[in-house]
Each structure stands twice: as structure tokens, then as C-alpha cells.
């Protein structure tokens, strides 16, 4: 119970007027003006806590202060409340509230008590100072699995207490069902709506016990998502769809070179004469300009017509080949390692012994997030007031960023978080918010929709870093791995991200835990392990959190080298992994083994495939969940591959919505395969080469495999599901390609190596 009380305190700390004890009437911090953008309204009624408000007509409104970017959070979080509150899913309406402290993501603050993934220790420092209301790191359910059930349970108990008092019976004489309290003896029923006002004044002197898993009515069941109906009619509003009265569009154009600046524009008068153009605005950060017009197309054309007087190209002599060389030099030089992320035994001694050393160099390129909805942000500034509509992963970060640019007091900034047309980490950045503020403050009173064209979006990314890894390993006389050494080189994502978004809290790259995700705590028992990393200093080229972050490259590296070791040991890749998991002393090694065995079983691993078909296997834990995959491919020609099927098994602990988990596995796999097949962001003397989808192709219907998903039933605290599907996708595929062609793929994308996909 102590934990509960502490969380309740954290949840309400700093919120004046809110109830400090769970169950006492709190303040529902909901902005009524966002109705249009969240699809529902608050209506009347009474708040039972910061998450639940009940109207007299029995409408149950729930706050969902996390970004819906496709991962199903607008359904999963209400399910947690509804399970304990005893309401049906079709009785629920959702609002996305203002980013107030009751909604802080406490997983950023304190992930360790959950024994979950500690990747956000940097964020934890920030959260200690500021309540970060944010969505990322596959944390939404991990953060709120207990808390929201507690919120539902206490609200239900208060409603029952109110009914009991009305009937002059005890709470034990009543039960709740489908938003009604029912008198066991008389079978009388009262709606929650008729009790909410009284319930909001009830002071509970106990914490109602939470349901046992066997009694769940919603959790663990395939529940239809609440956001889907409006996503099939075109009615769902993304931030690019908002149309406040009098809105104008600002098309942004950045300097030609990454990190370049614009001194001036030589044809402003001319451009301001173009049809529909209202104003040309130089951005105060010096990084570009925006053209404000009455139509996106006119604004975009005018922005293209601007003649920039450009100054500086800090990456003038830097092209991708140079970066590749620098990364290679770092991993080849022990003295360039800045931190050791894992070490036991004596890898160095083992590598200098009698056994043959297997060595391999891996490398992956920069990647763009390519959210389907190009970056945009709509904002109106009126004196010392601001209202913003944006699809963003961090509502509190949006408010803080606007405050920084405009000095408008935070309490005067109304933040409307719309649906996100994809997030993937790109919408945790603030560049598009700050730039909207820079333009909006020069157009007071006029709502400004700042839009990146696809080209501006792709050329001005916060990319997944290019990364190199040098592996060395040995096989002992017992056929097991004796030594495993991995030296990595990259730009630190956490350092780059924090410097941009919360500079006061930024730490050096040597402290970045994300760098090592997927490279350490592998489930394989090995005698001597050393994992280290070095930093590539290239601050002008910004790197950011890209779906699954460090695990996105390390999963590919680790699980490919594991396959190489299996091959070197002359053993089957599945059997080899199995033996090493059996040798592992990680606490969750049995869970790894169960996942590995299940996915091998699904794929009928021990049954040979027909001629021309091949398979590869990979397994990785990330964001608290273990995912194993087998990719089954057909070699249709020399270097022509059809990815027929991916078998996927996930152990994410307790299951909230299995349909969403399945969807996230399918999604994460396509995301990982797309990068593996086609994607790289390259630099040519400081300029990004790729501009749009024709140079940055995507897996489409005809190249998309069938994905079969199995979810393990494990009664452990939940892990994440938005990201863990991505990391094993590339190595499962490239391990299959090795089986098919004998070529060990050590760099991506595959199309650059001459592979085509059908």
C-alpha cells in the first residue's frame, strides 16, 4: 500500500486544489475546447479523480494523457480503468487533457521498482524536476498498469459507497456492473451518473483490492479500438487537419546544408507578391525561413522560390563515406572507447589465447522516421496567450518549448494534442513546435499552421544514428562461446536529444544507456564478455530516438554475430541459441527459452523447408518484452528474395489488448524490414541526399510478408509493445539470407548490396 500512496502523491504533487488522497474529489484537468480534436466532449458531471468524470446521463469520460500514434493507447489505458470501474467500453468517451502533473509519466522517473527497462535513466533525472507528460519508450502501459486500475477501483468503491448510503445498506450489500451499482438483496439499480456527484465527496478510508487476473472481463481480451471508427471515415483530425478560424499556412524552408544558416533572403518583395502570400518570416534561429500564405500549395511554392543568402556549412567536407571511415576508426581503436557497458570474465585474455578468433565488422546508416503525416504544428498567439494544436509525444514539452520561444506564461498556453500520423520518436522533438512559435509570434492573432513538406521533413531529421560495431569472439572446446567482444561507435542519441529538448539535464555520451540497448544483457551464457562504445562527435548532424532506439541497430548486430558464432561452431542457429540460453544465469532466461522454443515450434524449425525456401531466427529483449522471430524467405533469383512469412512470439508479461499487441508486432516488423531492405540517409558534402519516398522506399503490400503472432501468457508485470517487434526483424531476415546465399549481411540496407525484393 505504501507504493500506492506514494504514487498518488507524485501524481497530484504541484497541482493546486487537487485531491491529495486517492478517492477524494480531484480536479479533472480537461480542456473543453479540445473536444473537436479528441472526438468527444467532457459533458457535465463530477470528477472522481483526475482520470474519470461521470455525467448525469451516465457518460463515462476518461482522460488519456498519452499520444495516440497508432499504438492503441486511447484504448489500452481506458481498458485499465474500465476493468476496475466496471464500465463497458462502449460507455467510454475519451479526452486528451492538458499536460498537468497528475499525468506525468512516472516511468521516466522511477522505472527500477518495476524491474523494468532502465533505458530512461536520463529522463528520470529530468522527471525529478519537471513532470514530463510524455509518450515514448513503450512506457504507457508499463507506467500506468497499476495506477489506472487503482484509479478505477477507488472510483468504483466511492460510487458503491454513495449508493450504499442512499439505500441505507453496507457497501458489501452492493456490487457494480456496466456503470450501475446494484443492490444485491433488492436488485435495485442506480446509474453511476446518478451517484457521481455524491461519490465525488466520498472519502475512502481503504484501498479497494484489485481484481485477480482470472476475474478480468476486459484485460487480456481482444477489444476493438475506440479510435478506429473515425479513422475509416476521414473524420479523425490530425494536427495537419485542424482549421481554426482565419488560419494561414506557413511552409518552412531550411538552409540547404545540415546545420547551415541563412543570412538573408534576396527576393522577399518578389515572393511577397506571389498569389496568396501574406508574409515571409525569417526564423530567429537563423536556420531558415517560412512563407505564410492562404493555402499550403501556394506557401510551399513561394518557400521554394526564396533565394537564400546562405552562410556556413559546418559539414562542408563531410559525406557518408567519411562518416563510415570515422566510425571504423573508432571501433578499431580500444583507446577511443569512452565507456564499458558490460564486462565479465576476461575477454581480452580469451581472445589472445589459442582459440581461433572470429571477427566481424557491422555498420548501419542514418535513418529517417518518415512519419506518414509530415511534421506540422498549428498555433495562435494572442498577447500573452497561446493555443497550440499538435500531434506530439510530449504535451508538457510542447508547453515548455513555447514558453521558451515566446515567454508566454505556461499557464496561458493551451495544448491540444491531436492524433499523430505516426510518431516513432520524431514527434518527441520540438523543432517543429518552436518554429511554429517563431512564425506565430510574428503574426499575432492569426492561427498559423507550420508545415514541413516531405522533402523538408526528410532532409531535416533527427536521424537514427549511423553505427558501427566490431565483434570478436571465440568458440571453446565445448562448442560454446568462450569470448564475446563488441566495440561500438556512434553519436549518442540521449545526449543529442537532451541537448535539444532539455539542455540543463543533458549528460555526456558516456552516460547514455540507450547506446547499449540490445548489445548487453543478452540471454546467452558466455564466459568472457566485453561491450564498449565510443562517440562520434558530429554535433551538427542531429540524432534522435527512432522506434526501438539502440536496439534497432544492436539487435541486428548482436543477433547476426550470434548466427556467425553458430556457423563457426558448426551448429544449428536455433539449437546454438537454446544451449546458450540454458547456460545463462539471467533471471528471465527461462522466459527467453520459452519464447525461442515457441517461435521455433511455430515455424516448424526442425522440419526442412522445400527447395528454394530458407529461414533465419533472432530473439531480443527490449523495452521490457522478449520477442523471437523466424523469417521464412524464398530465393526467387540470384539476389532476388521474397519474404514470405515472419513468425513472431512475444512475452510482454500481462496482456492488456492482445489485438493491439498483435498489430504492434506486425507494425514493428514491417518498420524494421523497411529499414533493412531500403533505407539510408546519406550525406553529400553536408547535404542530405534523400528527399522523398522515391529515394527512401518503403515495404508495400506486394513486398509485405504475412506475420503470424503468438503472445505468451505470463503472469508478470507488463512490458512494452510499441517498439520490441522491430529489432529482431532485420537479423531474422539477414540470417535467412545467409542460409539462402551464404552471404553474411553485415551492413544495411540490402538493396545497396544488390538485393531486390518481390
Amino acid at each position: 500500500m505504501g507504493k500506492w500512496t506514494r504514487r498518488a502523491f507524485i501524481a497530484t504533487g504541484g497541482l493546486a486544489g487537487a485531491g491529495l488522497i486517492v478517492g477524494v474529489a480531484g480536479i479533472m484537468h480537461v480542456n473543453k475546447a479540445i473536444k473537436k480534436y479528441s472526438g468527444v466532449g467532457m459533458g457535465d458531471g463530477a470528477s472522481l479523480n483526475a482520470w474519470v468524470r461521470i455525467a448525469p446521463d451516465n457518460t463515462i469520460t476518461m482522460a488519456v494523457p498519452r499520444a495516440e500514434m497508432g499504438q492503441g493507447v486511447y484504448t489500452a489505458l481506458p481498458m485499465l480503468i474500465a476493468e476496475e470501474l466496471e464500465v463497458d467500453m462502449n460507455q467510454i468517451e475519451i479526452v486528451h487533457p492538458q499536460p498537468e502533473s497528475p499525468y506525468a509519466n512516472t516511468f521516466f522517473l522511477d522505472p527500477n521498482p518495476r524491474k523494468a527497462y532502465a533505458s530512461y535513466s536520463l529522463m528520470a533525472k529530468v522527471a525529478a524536476f519537471l513532470p514530463v507528460v510524455g509518450t515514448g519508450g513503450s512506457t504507457s502501459v508499463k507506467d500506468l498498469y497499476d495506477h489506472l486500475r487503482e484509479m478505477g477501483a477507488t472510483a468504483r468503491a466511492a460510487l458503491i459507497a454513495a449508493a450504499a448510503e442512499k439505500w441505507g445498506v453496507t457497501a458489501a450489500d452492493c456490487y457494480a456492473e456496466s456503470a450501475h451499482v446494484i443492490n444485491k438483496k433488492t436488485k435495485e439499480k442506480l446509474t453511476y451518473g446518478s451517484l457521481a456527484e455524491a461519490a465525488s465527496k466520498v472519502e475512502l478510508d481503504f484501498n479497494p483490492p484489485l481484481k485477480e487476473q482470472k476475474d478480468f472481463k476486459l484485460l487480456g481480451k481482444r477489444i476493438q479500438r475506440l479510435d478506429i471508427p473515425e479513422k475509416v471515415t476521414g473524420a479523425a483530425d490530425f494536427s495537419i487537419d485542424v482549421r481554426p478560424e482565419g488560419m494561414l499556412v506557413a511552409a518552412i524552408r531550411h538552409a540547404t546544408y545540415i546545420g547551415g544558416t541563412v543570412n538573408g533572403i534576396t527576393n522577399i518583395e518578389e515572393v511577397e507578391q506571389m498569389k496568396g502570400v501574406k508574409k515571409v518570416v525569417m526564423l530567429e534561429d537563423g536556420l531558415g525561413a517560412a512563407v505564410v500564405a492562404d493555402n499550403t500549395w501556394r506557401a510551399k511554392n513561394a518557400a521554394m522560390a526564396l533565394d537564400f543568402d546562405e552562410a556556413g556549412n559546418t559539414l562542408e567536407n563531410v559525406s557518408s563515406a567519411d562518416i563510415s571511415k570515422m566510425l571504423g576508426e573508432i571501433v578499431a581503436d580500444e583507446s577511443k572507447m569512452i565507456a564499458t557497458s558490460e564486462a565479465y570474465g576476461d575477454a581480452n585474455a580469451a581472445l589472445n589465447g589459442e582459440a581461433k578468433v572470429i571477427e566481424a565488422n557491422y555498420e548501419v546508416p542514418y535513418l529517417s522516421h518518415c512519419t506518414m503525416e509530415p511534421l506540422n504544428c498549428t498555433m495562435v498567439i494572442n498577447g500573452d496567450k497561446c493555443e497550440v494544436w499538435v500531434g506530439h509525444q510530449g504535451g508538457s514539452m510542447v508547453r515548455d518549448a513555447i514558453n521558451t520561444v515566446t515567454e508566454i506564461p505556461k499557464e496561458n498556453i493551451k495544448v491540444n494534442i491531436t492524433y499523430l500520423g505516426g510518431g516513432f520518436g520524431r514527434r518527441a522533438e520540438l523543432d517543429f513546435v518552436k518554429k511554429a512559435a517563431m512564425v506565430a509570434k510574428q503574426m499575432p492573432g492569426t492561427p498559423i499552421q507550420l508545415v514541413f513538406t516531405r522533402e523538408e521533413d526528410m532532409k531535416n531529421g533527427t536521424y537514427r544514428p549511423a553505427v558501427a560495431s566490431n565483434f570478436k569472439g571465440t568458440i571453446g572446446a565445448d562448442g560454446m562461446i568462450d569470448a564475446w567482444e563488441n566495440k561500438m561507435a556512434l553519436q549518442s542519441v540521449s545526449s543529442s536529444f537532451m541537448l535539444r529538448t532539455m539542455p540543463a539535464m543533458a549528460e555526456g555520451p558516456e552516460k547514455d544507456p540507450q547506446t547499449s540497448e540490445g548489445a548487453i544483457e543478452l540471454p546467452y551464457g558466455r564466459n568472457n564478455v566485453s561491450v564498449q562504445f565510443g562517440q562520434l562527435d558530429l554535433p551538427a548532424l542531429q540524432v534522435g530516438n527512432w522506434r526501438s532506439v539502440g536496439a534497432s541497430q544492436n539487435g541486428f548486430f548482436s543477433e547476426s554475430f550470434m548466427d556467425e558464432m553458430a556457423h563457426a561452431a558448426g551448429q544449428d542457429p536455433y539449437e546454438f541459441r537454446k544451449k546458450h540460453i540454458q547456460k545463462s544465469d539471467l533471471p528471465d532466461a527461462p522466459r527467453f527459452l520459452a519464447v525461442l522454443n515457441k517461435v521455433a515450434d511455430m515455424a516448424s524449425w526442425s522440419t526442412p523447408l522445400p527447395e528454394g525456401k530458407y529461414r533465419g531466427i533472432a530473439i531480443l529483449k527490449s523495452f521490457g518484452s522478449i520477442v523471437g522471430q523466424v523469417a521464412e524467405i524464398t530465393k526467387t533469383d540470384e539476389k532476388e528474395i521474397s519474404i514470405d512469412k515472419v513468425y513472431c512470439v512475444i512475452d510482454c508479461g500481462r496482456i492488456v489488448n492482445p489485438d493491439t499487441i498483435e498489430a504492434q508486432m506486425q507494425s514493428g516488423i514491417i518498420y524494421g524490414l523497411t529499414a533493412a531492405l531500403y533505407n539510408e540517409i546519406t550525406l553529400d558534402n553536408g547535404q542530405v541526399v534523400q528527399q522523398n519516398f522515391p529515394q527512401y522506399e518503403m515495404v508495400r503490400m506486394n513486398t509485405s510478408p504475412t506475420v503470424a503472432v503468438h503472445i505468451m501468457e505470463v503472469d508478470e508485470y507488463p512490458g512494452g509493445v510499441g517498439e520490441p517487434g522491430t529489432p529482431p526483424a532485420a537479423p531474422a531476415l539477414t540470417n535467412a539470407i545467409f542460409a539462402a546465399t551464404g552471404e553474411r549481411v553485415r551492413s544495411l540496407p540490402l538493396n545497396k548490396l544488390g538485393y531486390t525484393f518481390v
Binding site: V232, N295, T296, M372, Q666, N692, F693, M701
Partner: protein, 157 residues
């Protein structure tokens, strides 16, 4: 210029070469049709023009004069979702949802011209990008919608 959109006549005063996408989104505030790439590569802006799935981010609005334009807003008739829209819900297709207007418009055109498509037909016709990777569910939903439409026809026949 005069455009016929979802059965209604709309007059707009725009340049001849303004792409239809921006006429819909910015002149008529019909925002169900999405901008994704501006180069006809992703299909987020797909509508039907005389029944043919057409990418509108590079199509001059003037080219659509005198033709029947159907957008996502015109798919549900009299408040009734189409078989495809229902199948999209049945299979829980959308994730972020941004590309789905275009996907649905492409799927409607496919089933109108080919009531019982094979997987190969779907591969050929459904070329829009979905960054969330909902392809498998789109495929299943198209097969389900084809079945429902056939049943509906049988009932009516």
C-alpha cells in the same frame, strides 16, 4: 472552376495548376484526403475520379473539371459505412490512421472494378504506403469486404 465532389457542385477560385489535393484540403476544408509526399509516391491523397483511384497531390484541379470526384467523405452513404469501411473496423486495420483514407479509396476502386480480387490483384492495385505496416490487415479486410459485397448483391438480386 466548378468541381463535382461527392455529388455536389463546388465552385473554387484557384489557379488551374493547383493540385486537387490542396483544393480539397485548403479551399474546401475537406481534410479527410491527406498530404503525404507531393510526388504521387505514397497514395495518401488518393480519391476516385470517375471511379478510378487517383493520386491528387500532382493532379491539377482543372483536370478534374467535369468529372465525378469521390473522396473519403463521400464513401459512407446516408450515414451507413460502406462494406470496406466496416471490414476495416472488423479487422481493426488502422493504427495511426493517416494513410487509411487513401487506402480505403484505392480499395473501393479495386472492388468496384474487380469484385473478387486475388492476393495478386491486391498486390497490384494496393500500392499505397502505410508506415505503420497494416498491409496484412488491409488484405484481409479487402477479402472480407468482397465477400460482404457479394452477399449483399445476392440478397438484393
Amino acid at each position: 472552376m466548378e468541381l463535382k465532389i461527392n455529388g455536389a457542385i463546388r465552385n473554387v477560385d484557384v489557379e488551374d495548376n493547383m493540385p486537387l489535393l490542396w483544393v480539397l484540403r485548403d479551399e474546401l476544408n475537406m481534410t479527410g484526403t491527406k498530404y503525404g509526399c507531393g510526388v504521387s509516391a505514397c497514395g495518401a491523397c488518393t480519391v476516385q475520379i470517375d471511379g478510378v483511384a487517383t493520386r491528387t497531390c500532382t493532379l491539377p484541379a482543372s483536370a478534374a473539371v467535369g468529372k465525378e470526384i469521390k473522396t473519403i467523405e463521400g464513401v459512407a452513404a446516408n450515414g451507413q459505412l460502406s462494406a470496406i469501411q466496416k471490414a476495416w473496423i472488423e479487422h481493426q486495420v488502422p493504427q495511426c490512421g493517416y494513410c487509411q483514407s487513401g487506402q480505403i479509396m484505392a480499395a473501393e476502386a479495386l472492388l468496384d472494378s474487380n469484385p473478387n480480387p486475388t492476393d495478386e490483384d491486391i498486390d497490384k492495385s494496393m500500392t499505397n504506403i502505410c508506415r505503420c505496416g497494416t498491409y496484412q490487415r488491409i488484405r484481409s479486410a479487402i477479402h472480407t469486404a468482397a465477400k460482404w459485397r457479394a452477399e449483399e448483391t445476392t440478397l438484393q438480386g
